[in-house]
Symmetry: C2
Subunit: 247 residues, 2 copies
DNA sequence: GTTTCCACTTGATCTCGGTCAAGGTATCTT
DNA sequence: AAGATACCTTGACCGAGATCAAGTGGAAAC
């Protein structure tokens, strides 16, 4: 049940929590206070970080790689309910356990904080609590946006929606969204995409082939994607072209 | 755009916000402070409370009736992304507007607070901020639970899931869940149920008829539901019999 | 070099739920 | 009482996506 992980007490200057101003790294005093409750963990692709129902004694954020939140029914049907990209927060302050599995979808590094001290810090530091509320509202918006995808979009629109999310997240680190083609590597297997989209992996494969045939995307190998026209992709996704949503 | 509503400055002793300890009603000093920023609003069934993208200058909670959060695509496909029952919180502290329509699904009374003063109170009163985070995490859990319903469940399971949510919410006010049959009135039209479940109203109707035929539920008229065996209904919903989730 | 394995693709067929259409029933209006 | 309206039910048919099955390609293992 306890996964293999390496604990690493390296200095955390590049810890992505601070990108979202949730942790106290911007404030040197708080930094000191955190230093001894903070550690890195690495996970291999496919590894389960926490099982649904298990105690979760840390919070943290994704440094590199992708984590996913998954719910599974007794008969094996699974639905991914969240996709955590670098800088995303993991954890449920004030909660004992998770109602879903947290898995490393790719090789993953997380920056973790022991939960109790983090919660104490939170109660003492209003801006952390406030920032955490804002992040949770973001996640809620993303979850609700995804409910529209799951409930009402066609398979083709679902694929386009997913590609457009990943493209925008990737593009926001480096490229401008409306400046020429966007290029990225798909971080998910067809099966993971299917689990996120409420489809089968065969349908995912077929729809990707169709988008390629119709030149909405182009593929090199199975994972390297080029999007020549982001506006076109968002039309395919059924989004109004300007309405952006985050994962 | 501005709906007809009656403002009512009645004493708020029964305001459901305090049921969740989010507002300051439990503390008489805070109560005074809130008294002048608080008001009641009534809405008729079908009325839209806030349009997607509009400014939202209040937060509040549902006193009676049902409100729903809805997203609509350009071509008219709509998906309900949240169902707000009495005592549920409405609003996005720190946000300007909503990314979805908020509608009165039945006749509705809300207890509202002007947003700015409420936010100020929140920053001054850590336990309110904390409680609000917990409520938002609850909503997030509910949204994610619903993603499993939308993505992976069959039409029959979807209906059973919805009935079981409503039954449990209703039952928690008065009856014991595991004590005999549960009786309630369906507060939603077939169409609203379809919008929540990602189905058509015809499919909703057919599946309700099927559950009735198979004696999982019984119906008097079109809305009055009796659930003789809650465990059976939850099996039909595909839930493990003890795992409960809130709306 | 070839075997194995995994991720992916493509085809053939089936099925669940959508679509279109025709009533039915209760409530409200006139 | 007779329409009108809103909400619901049921039937017939169809199609998007699931299921079952076979095959491909590329990288790691032997």
């Amino acid at each position: 049940m306890t996964p293999n992980f390496k604990i690493d007490h390296t200095n955390c200057n590049d810890c992505p929590i601070r990108h979202r101003a949730v942790c106290a790294h911007c404030n040197p005093n708080e930094l000191e206070e955190l230093e001894d409750i903070k550690y890195y963990r690495s996970f291999e692709a496919g590894q389960t970080i926490i099982w649904s129902g298990d105690q979760m004694n840390f919070v943290g954020s994704v440094v590199s790689g992708i984590a996913s939140l998954t719910q599974t029914m007794e008969d094996g049907r699974t639905q991914m309910v969240g996709l955590l990209l670098p800088s995303d927060f993991v954890g449920r302050p004030g909660r004992e356990s998770t109602p879903y599995d947290v898995q490393a979808t790719t090789d993953l590094v997380m920056c973790c904080f022991r939960k109790k001290p983090f919660e104490d810090l939170m109660t003492e530091t209003p801006h952390i609590a406030h920032r955490l509320l804002q992040m949770t509202l973001d996640e809620l918006d993303a979850a609700r946006e995804w409910m529209l995808v799951l409930g009402r979009k066609t398979a083709r629109e679902k694929i386009a929606s997913l590609l457009s999310i990943i493209a925008r997240r990737d593009a926001s680190i480096g490229q401008k969204v409306n400046a020429g083609p966007i290029v990225f590597d798909l971080p998910l297997t067809r099966e993971a995409m299917a689990d996120y989209l409420g489809l089968t992996l065969e349908t995912v494969s077929r729809q990707i082939s169709a988008l390629k045939r119709d030149q909405v995307i182009s593929l090199e190998g199975k994972r390297h994607v080029t999007i020549p026209n982001m506006g076109r992709l968002m039309e395919e996704a059924g989004d109004d072209s300007d309405g952006g949503f985050l994962v």
